[in-house]
């Protein structure tokens, strides 16, 4: 990662944390690219000694993109928040495409969606979950946020608690409820 890119990303994170929404717009493609790059590398089997979790992707993307010495915890939380949203968008988009297009199609090269196809989830489940999660966000936004962070970014309870700004116990409690509620919604669909 080039020096300048790191410092730009760092700038953007700081600006966004200070309330500059345009900074977020500039940030998203960078994070998206980095997540995609990391996932693709995983697909190329360059790191076979371990199973790569989505949280590893997010953590590693942060370390690559940001100058840790110039950022604090608040910036990190912002970064994870945007990464969780992006991962959700990436996975759901891909699942929708998969449902629409017949198998056998092969994209040129290795892209992020292809890498993420290694997920064993059935596309329909992911799309249905996305709809149910939108409904949950309407009824109980914090719980939907927790699902996004836990499920789509793979974050730990403690990390999630820090980002959402509640205790880990509350995260556990909300997480349990949200899971049951979402599964109920999916089973009814």
């Amino acid at each position: 990662m080039a020096e300048s890119s790191v410092s730009e990303t760092t700038q953007l994170l700081r600006a966004w944390a200070d309330g500059d929404e345009q900074a977020l717009e500039a940030l998203i493609p960078r994070v998206y690219r980095e997540l995609g790059r990391l996932a693709a590398r995983c697909l190329r089997n360059e790191r076979p000694e371990q199973t790569l979790q989505v949280s590893d992707l997010v953590h590693e993307a942060y370390v690559h993109l940001a100058d840790l010495s110039r950022l604090d915890w608040q910036h990190r939380n912002h970064f994870f928040a945007v990464s969780a949203t992006l991962m959700r968008r990436i996975l759901v988009d891909r699942a929708r495409k998969r449902m629409a297009v017949k198998r056998g199609e092969r994209a040129e090269g290795i892209d992020v969606e292809q890498a993420l196809d290694l997920s064993s989830r059935r596309p329909a489940e992911i799309v249905a979950l996305d709809d149910a999660l939108n409904e949950l966000a309407r009824l109980a936004p914090r719980k939907a946020r927790i699902v996004e962070l836990r499920f789509f970014a793979g974050l730990e309870v403690k990390e999630t608690a820090e980002i959402v700004g509640v205790s880990p116990d509350t995260v556990m409690r909300d997480w349990r409820l949200a899971k049951a509620w979402l599964l109920k919604e999916l089973s009814a669909a």
């Binding site: 996932a39 199973t51 989505v54 690559h64 959700r88 699902v147 899971k179 049951a180 109920k184």
Partner: protein, 825 residues
């Protein structure tokens, strides 16, 4: 549904979960039917969709099934059992059936065997590891393959990992320092071969039941970037264990030896406290802490640890790699010297008896002459290292070599109470040593010693003699019994070493050259002969420092020092040599590094005079007058005939403003050695500063007469001219001196006097320029400059004040780093 309804669902769901199943139906019965239906459905869900994160990497590709099972054979190796699984494969205990030797085998998993990139990496690991042959590194025996599986055959180490050995509150200090110094030696050897480990952590450090360290897993060690080998982690892969990463590793930057030193700092910290220096709730939090946070002070948890250890670990953990200890070997030296018993050396200790060992008379062919001095020198070393006697150095007894002596007379001349003297008889390979120990105060012969030996076993003979003499004066300390193992087993190399000892004690260019030649041959015969390397380093340092200005000597000296300390990080000669070379103009007076080497040397041998002398000089050049005085007085006590200690004391007194005392010390130096050149050079200075110009002038003339071309004297002459009001001449002389050639002593003193002449002549800018040169190159005592009466006119000059402030800041920083006492200004 709306949020209100959702809240009711939430409440009932948690309530239902909280109660026993038999109470649950009662609870649900009382609820709103719609809410109840929702909650019942939720309670019935058993799906696992959300139990794992949305996405997981290539797990399916990686379900590793080991290709090796117990009892199976891999070529000649019979697998016994799995020892563990590391980052790059599984490790088994196995038996090499050809040799009956137990080995450890690391196998590349079959799934990866077809991956050329990984295979290359595996082989690269092997290549890196096989380049290393060190007692503290797990040896690699072989690289082999069997039915498509590649594997490494390694030394099997029966032991535990350091990870399993650190108790919650940390290890005892000696354990930490002992294991730590071995890890540092292993790293030193690897770094010298251009290999960085990159993953130093307790799990990679094996410790045998005999407390020998074996560093394992150079699995992610890579060869240095030289264009031929790609950096495995350049893609930014985060390898290594996060908690022990260096700040540069967390940033994904290129790492070098300094990174391993940081990781070793983490290991030392953990070994001492049972806690990691940098912690966090997640990997990222830890990395963030490593990059930005300061670790809790070691001594807040372990107040019993030596403060030097605390400072050492803190230096390892500095964020800026350039500020950390320069090499792993330096770390080994410091850790080992910290383990030595604290030297109780109050600087005045009149009750210590004084002793002289007279070079032994030789009865035999002249070719064996070297035995006379070298055996005496060995006895001197042994007796002085006890710290319980003041032993005259070899230089002060050389004049008795080869002469029949009256020991009582020698005792008087050398001002000692105890004398060891005797005869070495040689006949063919047979050697007999007959020694006597006498006490002058009551003319009593304390002991007679006879030792027989053979020239092929001089080391054993020397040891027995030292033991026997030592037993007479110093009750043997059981704990130090096995302290000194022979550093060579090669008799030829040892004989050359002894001959070289005899040569290099004469500080003479030609003797030194032949000492260097002999020691070079000795180290060729036995490259593992640490003492020969150390003496060679010292001979180079002396040659380059005093006898021959050719810069090659210091370069060679540095190589010999590195070699010595790799073999023995507490080899005193090499540390002294290091202190001399680092504190020299060509090495730009590296105060801190030189002080560290000299501190270690004096910890190892408190009576080591070269180190005392050099440390006293470093300290007063930095304005640490109390500490410098202590060293100078120790030196004087150990060797009353040495004029140098009085020259130190004179310089110190000058800085204290006690010019009369300073002049007296110079007079004492000259009374010991009327021709002492440095004493003559310095003699005008205190008189001049005291305003006694009339007395100073003849002293200056004398100095000029002895050394006609000396820039030091020209600098002083410039001051005289200025004091006479002849400013034009003063400036002209100062110009000549400041830009002039060599001085017998360090040129920073000349620059200092030129600054005085310029200041007196109304040229403050030029004066400041010279003072800055002094400060840049070794002479940076703000106390000296503030005391100097010739610089008086500068005292209100803002640039001068600024310079003094920065010197003072540096002074305080060194004081804190070395735990030097604050002195009353």
């Amino acid at each position: 549904m709306d949020s209100k309804r959702f809240e009711q669902i939430e409440e009932l769901y948690h309530a239902a979960l909280a109660c026993e199943s038999n109470e649950r139906s009662a609870l649900l019965d009382h609820a709103d039917p719609e809410v109840r239906r929702e909650v019942e459905l939720m309670l019935a869900q058993e799906g696992s969709l959300l139990d794992r994160p949305a996405w997981q990497g290539t797990a399916s590709l990686l379900e590793t099934g080991s290709i090796v099972i117990s009892g199976k054979r891999l070529g000649p190796f019979e697998i016994e059992h799995l020892l563990g699984a590391g980052g790059m494969g599984e490790v088994f205990r196995a038996v090499d059936t050809r040799l009956g030797r137990t080995v450890a085998i690391k196998v590349l998993p079959r799934q990866l065997a077809g991956n050329p990139a990984l295979n290359r990496r595996f082989l690269r690991e092997a290549r890196a590891a096989s380049a290393l042959n060190h007692p503290n590194i797990v040896a690699l025996y072989d690289i082999s393959s069997h039915e498509g599986a590649d594997f490494l055959v390694m030394e099997y180490v029966a032991g535990k990992t350091l990870k399993d050995l650190i108790p919650p509150g940390g290890l005892p200090f000696d354990g930490v320092a002992g294991l730590g110094s071995q890890i540092a030696l292993a790293l030193g050897a690897a770094h010298a071969a251009g290999i960085v480990h990159r993953d130093i952590k307790p799990a990679n450090i094996l410790v045998t039941p005999q407390q020998q360290v074996k560093v394992v897993d150079f699995g992610i060690a890579t060869l240095p970037r030289d264009g031929t080998v790609s950096d495995l982690t350049s893609e930014g892969q985060i390898v290594g264990t996060v908690s022990y990463m260096s700040p540069e590793q967390t940033r994904g930057e290129h790492v070098d030896a300094g990174s391993d030193i940081f990781s070793l700092g983490c290991v030392l910290y953990e070994a001492a406290t049972g806690r990691l220096p940098f912690t966090g709730l997640s990997a990222l939090a830890v990395m963030h802490a490593i990059a930005t946070a300061d670790q809790p002070p070691l001594r807040s948890m372990r107040p019993d640890l030596p403060p030097e250890f605390d400072r050492l670990v803190a230096r390892c953990l500095l964020k800026d790699a350039a500020q950390r200890p320069q090499s792993a070997i330096e770390l080994a030296t410091e850790l080992k010297s910290l383990m030595l018993p604290a030297s109780v050396l109050p600087h005045v200790r009149p009750q210590r008896p004084s002793l002289a060992v007279i070079p032994f008379r030789l009865r035999g062919p002249e070719a064996d002459n070297y035995l006379s001095v070298s055996l005496a020198d060995a006895v001197i070393h042994r007796l002085s290292s006890s710290g319980k006697l003041i032993v005259r150095p070899i230089a002060s007894v050389l004049r008795y070599a080869g002469k029949e002596i009256d020991w009582a007379k020698a005792a008087l001349e050398l001002n000692v109470d105890l004398v060891v003297e005797g005869v070495v008889q040689t006949m063919g390979p047979k050697v007999r040593v007959l020694l006597q120990a006498h006490r002058a105060s009551d003319a009593h012969t304390l002991a007679s010693i006879k030792q027989d030996g053979d020239t092929s076993d001089l080391f054993g003979l020397q040891d027995r003699i030292c033991d026997a003499v030592s037993d007479v004066f110093v009750p043997r300390d059981k704990s130090l019994q096995d302290r000194r193992l022979p550093s060579t087993r090669h008799p030829g190399a040892y004989e050359l070493y002894l001959r070289a000892v005899d040569r290099q004690v004469h500080v003479d260019k030609y003797d030194m050259a032949s000492a260097i030649e002999m020691l070079t041959r000795a180290t060729e015969m036995d490259p593992g002969f640490a003492d020969a390397w150390g003496l060679l380093a010292q001979a180079y340092a002396q040659m380059g420092g005093h006898l021959d200005p050719d810069p090659k000597w210091f370069d060679l000296g540095e190589q010999a020092i590195a070699k010595t300390l790799e073999l023995d990080p507490v080899q005193c000669d090499a540390l002294c040599a290091r202190g001399i070379i680092l504190w020299s103009p060509s090495r730009r007076f590296q105060n801190r590094a030189a002080l560290r080497a000299l501190n270690a040397a004096l910890k190892i041998n408190p009576l080591r005079q070269t180190a005392r002398h050099q440390r006293s000089a470093v300290l007063w050049h930095l304005g640490f007058l109390d500490a410098a005085t202590e060293d100078a007085e120790e030196l004087q006590l150990a060797n009353p005939a040495l004029p140098l200690s009085f020259l130190h004391l004179s310089n110190i007194a000058t800085q204290r403003g006690d010019f009369q005392q300073a002049a007296d010390y110079i007079a004492r130096a000259l009374s010991l050695e009327p021709g002492q050149v440095l004493a003559h050079l310095s003699s005008p200075v205190p008189l001049l500063w005291a305003g006694r110009v009339a007395e100073a002038r003849p002293a200056l003339d004398k100095a000029r007469q002895i050394l006609p071309d000396e820039t030091f004297v020209t600098g002083l002459e410039a001051i005289f001219a200025a004091l006479d009001g002849n400013f034009v001449r003063a400036e002209a002389l100062a110009d000549v001196a400041a830009n002039g050639g060599k001085s017998l002593t360090h040129t920073h003193h000349t620059w200092h006097y030129c600054a005085g002449a310029y200041a007196l002549s109304g040229r403050p800018e030029k004066a400041l320029g010279e003072l800055r040169r002094c400060a840049d190159l070794g002479l940076q005592s703000y106390r000296l400059f503030e005391m100097d009466p010739n610089l008086r006119s500068l005292r209100t000059n803002p640039a001068f004040r600024e310079l003094m402030t920065s010197l003072r800041r540096e002074h305080d920083s060194i004081r804190n780093e070395f735990g030097l006492e604050a002195e009353a200004a």
